[in-house]
């Protein structure tokens, strides 16, 4: 069987859209790209999760968008749309946070402009096999270059709560009981404290360690070559330790987060505990399952091709490609959370762009093009 298509993107979420838009920007036609996913809306899953935690603003800043070019970012777009320089000034002061509605509108625009729907196929990819000069996606054909952007493998719920009828994950639609325990200490947990308090609930924050306070998921230099150069020089053990350290929960500093909690604390409606104590409702703001092994597609890929791994991570080249399966004629790259070995903030939009650009460079350099 000959190679039938140039590129495949496995995963129809935001990281897939970023990859698709980048390839299109660099001149590939929709006919040269196939996108496999379960929902044609690239923000479908994200939209549900954001709605579940009543998220109104993005944690990301002006650059947290899906367009291939960094400029214009969301701040400039908002300034032009609203005919005011305020968003640009806010961005200049690192105070700009786009609203969720603005972001979703932007995603729709990129989806429409890029021709995403022309390339999208509602199919789940169960297996990727390396073949001569490309990859076989089981039952779907052969592709020279494949970008795997399957996203988080699933919602993480502590084992002791998995069968507890009181428990619900923060990213699942829910209301708030009178007494709520919120497990976790990251961005979703902090958002849920405020949501539950605003709904009139008494809140217990169940956490075993204090969250870090930082504006973005990671220190800013790790989003650029400045921090990445050091990161890429680390050995396997050191890099695992770094990634584990950076996966600790965090949320931004600021009065908007602290004041409602402090008011509730003084009123006896908010407290911190190390253990659950039998409230009416337990909200698990515990994020996602971690590690490639939780993703059946990636677990199979690793097992069948003997790929190098380190702890939860598949070992990647600095440009997010899998070295053992990438050469001058074919590319296999990981975007989204699975790409953390190359880019610690791989599960952000900036991370998706990083992987997309690395992948696109490989496609452009491919000898057969």
């Amino acid at each position: 069987m000959s190679v039938t298509k140039e590129c495949a993107i496995v995963g129809g979420g935001l990281a897939g859209l970023v990859g698709y838009a980048t390839l299109r920007h660099r001149g590939l036609t929709p006919a040269e790209i196939a996108v496999f996913g379960t929902d044609p809306d690239p923000a479908g899953q994200w939209r549900v999760r954001a709605a579940a935690i009543r998220q109104r603003r993005m944690r990301s800043e002006s650059d947290g968008h899906c367009a291939p070019r960094s400029f214009p970012g969301l701040a400039v777009r908002a300034a032009l749309r609203r005919k005011t320089p305020v968003p640009v000034v806010e961005s200049w002061l690192d105070r700009y946070r786009p609203t969720v509605d603005e972001f979703l509108e932007h995603v729709e625009k990129i989806r429409a402009e890029s021709g995403w729907d022309e390339s999208f196929r509602r199919r789940r990819v169960a297996r990727i096999s390396a073949v001569d000069g490309g990859f076989e996606l089981e039952g779907l054909g052969r592709f020279r270059h494949v970008l795997v952007a399957t996203g988080h493998p699933g919602l993480a719920v502590p084992r002791e709560l998995q069968r507890d009828p009181r428990a619900i994950h923060a990213y699942e639609p829910h209301d708030y009981a009178e007494n709520v325990e919120i497990v976790g200490a990251g961005m979703a947990a902090a958002t849920e404290w405020l949501n539950a308090l605003a709904a009139g609930a008494n809140v217990v924050s169940v956490r075993r360690r204090e969250p870090e306070r930082r504006p973005l998921n990671l220190p800013r230099q790790l989003f650029t070559r400045r921090g990445l150069a050091t990161f890429h020089r680390t050995d396997v053990a050191e890099r695992q330790a770094m990634l584990r350290r950076w996966s600790a929960p965090s949320y931004p500093a600021g009065r908007a987060w602290d004041e409602p909690v402090e008011r509730a604390r003084r009123a006896g409606r908010f407290r911190v505990a190390a253990e659950l104590n039998g409230s009416d409702q337990v909200i698990c703001a515990t994020g996602f399952e971690r590690g490639y092994a939780q993703d059946p597609l990636l677990a199979r890929l690793v097992a069948e091709h003997g790929l190098a791994t380190a702890g939860n991570w598949i070992v990647l080249e600095p440009d997010s490609t899998i070295g053992a399966l990438t050469d001058g004629e074919r590319t296999l790259a990981l975007a989204g959370v699975a790409g953390q070995w190359a880019f610690p903030a791989a599960d952000t939009l900036m991370g998706a762009k990083y992987a997309a650009r690395g992948f696109t460079r490989r496609v452009e350099a491919c000898r057969s093009r």
Partner: protein, 393 residues
Amino acid sequence: MSFTLRGRIESRLAAALAPLLAALGLALAITEWWPLALAGTMIAVGLVFEVVLDRRIDYQPGWASLPLAALELAAIMGVVYALDISAPLTVALAFFAGSWLLGLVLMHGVFPYMRLSYGEDGGELGRAGAVVAVLVLVSLALFAGVALAMQPPTVHLAAGIHEGPLILDRAQNLVGEPGAVVRGGIVVTADNVTIRNVTVIGGENGIEVDDAHNVTLDRVRISGAKLDGIHVRRSSVAIRNCLIHSPAGDYAQGIDISFGFDLAPSIVEDCTVVGGREGIVTHFANAHVEDNRVSGTTLRGLTLTEMSMAMVEGNEVTDALGVGIFCGDYSECEIDDNSVRGIRPDQASGDTTRMGVGILAHYGAKAVLGENEVSDSPGGTRAVLGAEISRPD
């Protein structure tokens, strides 16, 4: 943004390309080096800042560019003053502001637009960035080399007495060692001459400048000249920090700048002139007379006459006979922030316009008077023979 060092340098140099070309164009248009010297200084200071910042700042938010620009501007101004780059202040500030704004637009808009991974690469511009950086640096080196090659030679005048008159008929820098004295005067007839740290004693004129442009007299001390301490004809000069003692005589004057109306303005700044008929005088000349101290003159302290155009600011005129500041014969003078004290009536002259007048506008002249202090001068401030005195708008 989190720049890498290479990103900082490439972005900085790429953003400097347009200002450098603009400076080159301006330098060619006005046939002066200062635009290129200014651009070179800005680039050099900017690069030093980038290296220093790189070690101290992992992440540079957008707003930081404002205080950093202020610091950088201060450093650039310091270097400009230290190197004595003769850039007009307003032009230099405008050039800096324009370059800074252009840099912002390029780094926050154009570069990220043109290069997908600009931010991610920490400001690096790839091969194009390296090429532009090399181009800018090579151009700067080239300009600096040419400028150095074209600089006039520096002649050091050893301590001791040198018999004059010295004739300077080629471009050069004459720099006196401490204790260097020329007896009998110096005559300058060439463009691009600088005389610095030299004492002149005697001579017909102390220093005479004839038909020469871009002449600088800095920290010269003159005494005992028969006519003028400094005598300038058909020339444009910058005279700074001078000290002139003129003997009492019918023709001795401190500084006389004449017949250069169509030339670049001459500057007399921070000089002290004691004695002589007139302290500083211009005839048909374009001059800035600023922050000087003139005393003990027997005709007038400062004279701007015969259709001169002059800015007269921050001077101190004391103990003059007759008139303190004189704007005459259809000259136009802006006279501001001067202190005129102790102007004595010249009773012997019988001239009513010389009866201790602090500031006198005479014969069709137009004098715009700002905030001047005239005291202990019985004639006050006057306009006579069709002259006008007005206040600034």
